[in-house]
């Protein structure tokens, strides 16, 4: 089984990193994430203390919204093109396929965000300790965002206006990650990281089953 999933993982990752015809790759969420950090100081003014106090929250909001951008190309094109049917004929379970896709999605959007976070932190006048907490939070929280994203993408695959609906459905599910992620930056909020990791794990554990059931139900 795992030997057959390996080529699928490589394909998924290539598709999500580079993008396909007419669909952006990993660059789009990344640029969006940076653009928010760039625009925020223009909007609230260059007061370094205000930026440092609110900046980490802005980074988390930007990360959450950046996670929504690629939703419509996570699952839908492959259901449409019949790839999930072909995989099913080969005895590959939807759960395993979605777990592979969550991993590929996380690498294509979570890792770039972590790499871009120092740039955002500089633009928002965060100090080294805050940046470290943000990075740790993103490391623990983005797998959860990736899991939620893939679940919602599987649920809305094949629906008209699925992309817009997907964004609306994903935001409330991602709120706990936002609260604990941004909360971990408050004084005495270190416990937030543990809760963030717990939320991520719950999302990761449920996502393949919820998404797999959605794809199978969509075949009827």
């Amino acid at each position: 089984m795992s030997a057959r999933l390996w080529p699928i993982f490589r394909r998924d990752l290539g598709l999500l990193l580079r993008g396909a015809q007419g669909r952006g790759g990993a660059a789009l969420p990344l640029l969006f994430f940076l653009a928010v950090a760039m625009l925020y100081p223009f909007a609230v003014g260059p007061d370094a203390r205000l930026l440092a106090r609110t900046g980490a929250g802005v980074i988390w909001v930007a990360a959450l919204l950046a996670a929504i951008l690629p939703l419509d190309r996570l699952v839908e094109p492959d259901v449409e093109a019949g790839l999930f049917d072909q995989w099913a004929l080969r005895g590959l379970s939807e759960e395993a396929l979605l777990l592979v896709r969550i991993a590929a999605h996380w690498i294509s959007f979570g890792v770039p965000l972590m790499l871009a976070a120092p740039v955002s932190a500089t633009l928002l006048s965060l100090d080294g300790a805050q940046l470290w907490t943000v990075e740790l939070g993103l490391l623990l929280g983005t797998p959860g965002l990736a899991a939620i994203g893939v679940t919602i993408a599987a649920l809305t695959a094949g629906l008209r206006a699925g992309a817009a609906l997907g964004g609306l459905l994903a935001i409330p599910l991602a709120v706990p990650l936002l609260i604990f992620g941004a909360g971990s930056l408050q004084p005495g909020g270190e416990g937030g990281l543990a809760l963030l990791a717990a939320c991520s794990l719950v999302a990761l554990a449920l996502a393949p089953f919820a998404g797999g059931a959605a794809i199978r139900a969509g075949r009827e």
Binding site: Q21, L89, R90, E220
Partner: protein
């Protein structure tokens, strides 16, 4: 190797309020091919998907012995990828340990794809896509072939070639179910006319949830 077989027992299919067909049974063994004939919308594609195990029958059961490969109207090849690599992807998923890779297209080339291997899939014409799908099917080495309108978009020469490939597959001990509204010159071939299994609208309710035909 276990001889492949495909058997349907008392199948019924319901879409919405309509019962498309009922009491449909057949059994296929190695070397046999079945032609599903019928007008558009009669349920050929639904039957193919039920046989593939992708859709649940409303009633009845399907017994499969051997791996199944399917060609339907969806190509399942990535549009931006050159054809050779797109086909090699399925070879890798199928766990081919030979380094056939792009040779899938070049090796035997029963479907005339050698010149197209560097062409991105989205640039292929309708007929070329169909041939690519047939090449994917053949490369899977599955003994049971399910084909939904395999001749659509093929010119007469390639339609003959496709039928020859199906005949060769059956001659090699495989079996095939072909849904097509076009006549097939292929031998040996049994024909199942779906129209024989369509209940009249007034009988739809007689097929109750247990599927027992009244």
């Amino acid at each position: 190797m276990i001889a492949p077989s495909l058997a349907a027992r008392d199948l019924a299919c319901r879409r919405g309020d309509r019962v498309l067909f009922r009491a449909l049974s057949f059994a296929l063994g190695p070397g046999e091919a079945l032609h599903l004939a019928g007008a558009n919308g009669i349920g050929k594609s639904s039957l193919i998907r039920i046989l593939a195990g992708l859709m649940r029958a409303w009633h009845g059961s399907v017994a499969r012995e051997g791996r199944v490969a399917l060609v339907d109207e969806r190509l399942a090849l990535d549009g931006h990828v050159p054809l050779g690599r797109a086909l090699a992807f399925w070879r890798a998923v199928d766990g081919a340990d030979d380094a056939l890779g792009e040779g899938v297209v070049g090796g035997e080339d029963r479907f005339g794809l050698a010149d197209l291997r560097d062409v991105p899939v989205r640039y292929l014409s309708t007929g070329q896509r169909k041939r690519a799908a047939l090449a994917r099917l053949a490369a899977s080495e599955a003994p049971i072939w399910l084909l939904d309108e395999p001749l659509n978009g093929l010119d007469s020469a390639w339609a003959a070639q496709a039928q020859a490939a199906i005949a060769a597959h059956c001659a090699g001990g495989g079996l095939a179910v072909i849904a097509s509204h076009q006549p097939l010159a292929l031998l040996p071939l049994r024909t199942l006319a779906l129209a024989d299994f369509v209940p009249p609208p007034e009988a739809w309710d007689d097929v109750d949830d247990a599927g027992e035909a009244a």
